[in-house]
Amino acid sequence: MKRPDTQSVILVGVGGQGTILASKVLTTGLIDAGYDVKMSEVHGMSQRGGSVTTQVRYGQKVWSPLIGQGEADVLVSFETMEAMRCLPFLKPGGKVIVNTYRMPPLPVLSGECEYPDGIVDELKKRADTLAIDAVKIASDLGMPRGMNVVLLGALISAIGVDGADWTQALRGCVKPKFFEDNLRCLEAGLNLAAAKA
């Protein structure tokens, strides 16, 4: 008996990729637009290179801060393989936004196993998937670290929130010095998803 108006977004990445900043801008914009918002960070021990998941839920009234498998409307992955790890959280018919950037985990670095190939194809087969080379887009805009904001832009355009001022939300979350660069990343993300839609 899930309230139809509550939307759930999962953001996943590897420690240090800026998922937290992206979630912060997202929640700020949603709150300003008048939604009830709950956000939960789910991660294991000490974050020394492990995967980090943030769940953001918004709607008229949000109860649980946590969702289970098969309940996310949108999955945004800041790293390619992490999208596969989190796929069971996506509800059938949900959307995936995936960064084509790879961060090999320890067993791959040590040559114990290979970084799996064909992830994006698999994702496309299973769900409505938008694959983005966010590092390239952000680098072209002169700010390689802004890939998180590019992905955020794509997410925002995918969920289509009315009445939110994202420029303002971004301004409140980043240092003034980096605002202009971040804004360009955000706009690139917004346009990208809109173009493919």
């Binding site: 008996m1 899930k2 929640t27 700020t28 709150i31 009830d36 918002v37 709950k38 956000m39 939960s40 960070e41 789910v42 991660h43 294991g44 021990m45 000490s46 974050q47 020394r48 290179g49 492990g50 995967s51 949000v62 109860w63 649980s64 801060p65 946590l66 969702i67 289970g68 498998q69 098969g70 309940e71 996310a72 393989m81 992490e82 596969m84 790890r85 796929l87 069971p88 959280f89 996506l90 509800k91 059938p92 949900g94 090999p104 985990p105 320890l106 067993p107 791959v108 670095l109 040590s110 040559g111 290979e114 970084y115 799996p116 064909g118 992830i119 698999e122 994702l123 299973r126 769900a127």
Partner: protein, 597 residues
């Protein structure tokens, strides 16, 4: 003021400020760490890191006796450490209100067990509050001080990871101007000799009765009847949110916030009005057992699991038989991403050398170095709880000696852990003379929980300068002269120090201190003077590299192996130029010098 998105921990800090709290103390531990970090941002509150939870609790007790409102915060296992003083303080009651937080970790996201600390409340015989979200965390925490003073009792505030770390909207309020209660000597209350304790003990049943009356009639315990009375759910904490998520307004709820004493009359009344009653609670059947013992029938752990964190899906499956299935993909396309010691972590050199030793058992402790058991370092054998390495190692080495097992025991813990309770364990080792190599891995900070200051770092929680306690000096003051300090990034030095320790340990206990700052630490002026680091990186000469993979055995995440070309590589984004890998390379293929990117 407008609503703000706050984590439960931030909300507790705000609640403390609004309640007029003047003194707060804690030892960091996930998921409770951010409570004190946030309390520390309010200038009106004296906020301190204590060396351990018992000390934090005792300091808060003292502040309460001194007439101000005070608090202590800890993770669930911290209450085990702090249990001693609070049991007795529960007899005495308070002067200024006193509330302590225990943050449980269902699912063990970052803990060694998932004990359900609600069981402590009836054991200590004090009221317990359980918030469901950030707004409640703030309001309840503020109100807990009134409760504490009204009923002359410390109050237990029980949170869980999901309440601590999830964010929801909170409406901030004003600070209550709490005037300190002047101190008056009162031995009958605060001097816990048996005669006073016995009198205090006799007063407690009356307090329990008054609390029970409150529990049956207070705003934090409320029934929400819906149109349908077919199903009623008794629930508390974050489980309430999960239950609402699944059933919405289709069922009736009894939402409990004051859960010790449990409002049995209220529950009985609720039971009479619904056809079937479920108890939805995370972990132990804490409420269910008491409800059933009162002869009220309900369904609880027959359906809801007693292990691991709950979520709406688990409840949906348990009570409705509906199983949500997400999108499934090819499992071959995912490989594990285990956490690892950071690139350039000072612990790496120590573990690399220690793991090579034959007939050695390495006893670990609670901190980043817990990761040393994983491949490829494969160093640690075992660990129990915070500050236990030396005492566990002590017993282990005694057992080996007694049973003729020829093994050397190397026990290690961090600097913060040493100050926590490791210092007591070292007393045991020295006094009872075991042949144990005790290593203090001093990275100059509390690394695991996110870089909190401790008695060894020279700064307080508020960032003010403090007396630096030197581990080596302390060890010598305890009467042990076999102590050496080494730089763990110099493998030769590390190896020689271990050789020395392995020889000396035949005579008795040895202490080795590895001293180098955590790579993520913001260096203080003292650090910059002591630790000279050239900001450069290492690179691999691909012509010299023979692909032997020896460097990879250090487990540094900046190193990778190119399986096609069969050569190692270093990621310039991560490498800090610690040179541990270079010292391991048999071909001298790794050189330091590249400018830091």
């Amino acid at each position: 003021m407008t609503k703000q998105l706050m984590s439960g921990n931030e909300a507790v800090a705000r609640g403390a400020w609004e309640a007029g709290v003047a003194f707060a103390s804690a030892y960091p531990g996930t998921p409770s760490t951010e409570i004190l970090e946030n309390v520390g941002t309010y200038k009106e509150i004296v906020a301190e890191w204590a060396p351990n939870e018992k000390v934090a609790m005792e300091a808060a007790i003292g502040a309460s006796m001194g007439g101000v409102r005070s608090m202590a915060a800890m993770k669930h296992v911290g209450l085990n450490v702090a249990a001693d003083p609070i049991f007795t303080f529960a007899y005495m009651g308070v002067s200024g209100g006193m509330v302590f937080v225990t943050a449980d970790d269902p699912g063990m996201h970052s803990s060694q067990n998932e004990q359900d600390n609600r069981n402590y409340a009836p054991f200590i015989k004090i009221p317990m509050l359980e918030p469901s979200d950030s707004q409640e965390a703030k309001d309840m925490f503020r109100d807990a001080f009134d409760l504490s003073e009204r009923f002359d009792t410390p109050v237990m505030f029980r949170m869980t990871t999901r309440v601590c770390h999830s964010k929801s909207l909170v409406e901030p309020g004003e600070r209550y101007p709490f005037a300190a209660i002047p101190y008056v000597k009162n031995r009958a209350k605060f001097d816990d000799v048996p005669i006073a304790a016995k009198r205090n003990r006799l007063k407690m049943p009356e307090r329990d009765r008054r609390l029970l009356a409150l529990s049956n009639d207070c705003k934090y315990n409320r029934a929400e009847y819906s149109g349908s009375r077919k199903v009623g759910i008794v629930t508390s904490g974050v489980s309430y949110q999960y239950a609402k998520e699944v059933f919405g307004d289709a069922v009736s709820y009894l939402k409990l916030g004051l859960t010790n004493p449990l409002p049995i009359d209220l529950i009985r009344e609720f039971r009479a009005r619904v056809e079937t009653m479920y108890v939805i609670e995370e972990l132990d059947p804490y409420m269910e057992n008491q409800i059933k013992a009162a002869g009220i029938d309900c369904i609880g752990k027959e359906k809801i699991p007693a292990i691991d964190e709950l979520n709406p899906n688990i409840i949906r499956k348990a009570l409705l038989g509906e199983e949500a299935r997400g999108v499934q993909g090819d499992p071959k396309l995912v490989v594990p991403r285990p956490p690892a010691l950071c690139a350039g972590c000072p612990h790496r050199g120590f573990f690399y050398e220690a793991a090579k030793r034959k007939d050695t058992v390495i006893v670990g402790d609670i901190g980043c170095y817990a990761l040393s058991g994983n491949e490829p370092l494969n160093a640690k054998d075992l660990a129990n709880c915070m500050g236990s390495a030396f005492s566990v190692g002590h017993g282990l080495s005694k057992a080996f000696a007694l049973s003729g097992q020829d093994k050397t025991v190397v026990a290690c813990m961090g600097d913060s852990t040493f100050f926590h309770t490791g210092i007591n364990a070292l007393e045991e080792v020295i006094y009872n003379d075991s042949h144990l190599i005790c290593c203090v891995l001093d990275n100059r900070i509390t690394g695991m929980t996110g870089h909190q200051e401790n008695p060894g770092t020279g700064y307080t929680l508020k960032g003010e300068p403090a007396t630096i306690m030197d581990v080596g000096t302390i060890v010598r003051a305890l009467g042990l002269e076999r102590v050496r300090t080494v730089n763990p990034l110099h493998l030769d030095e590390m190896k020689k120090a271990l050789d020395w320790a392995y020889t000396e340990v035949r005579e008795g206990p040895v202490v080795l201190i590895t001293r180098w700052p955590c790579v993520l630490k913001r260096l203080s002026a003292e650090d910059r003077r002591e630790f000279r680091m050239t900001p450069a990186q290492c690179t691999i000469d691909r012509k010299k590299c023979i692909g032997c993979k020896k460097c990879l055995s250090t487990g540094c995440p900046a190193l990778s192996f190119d399986t096609c070309e069969r050569k190692a590589a270093i990621d310039p984004m991560q490498c800090v130029g610690c040179t541990v890998c270079a010292q391991v390379c048999p071909q001298q293929a790794i050189v330091k010098g590249a400018k830091k990117a």
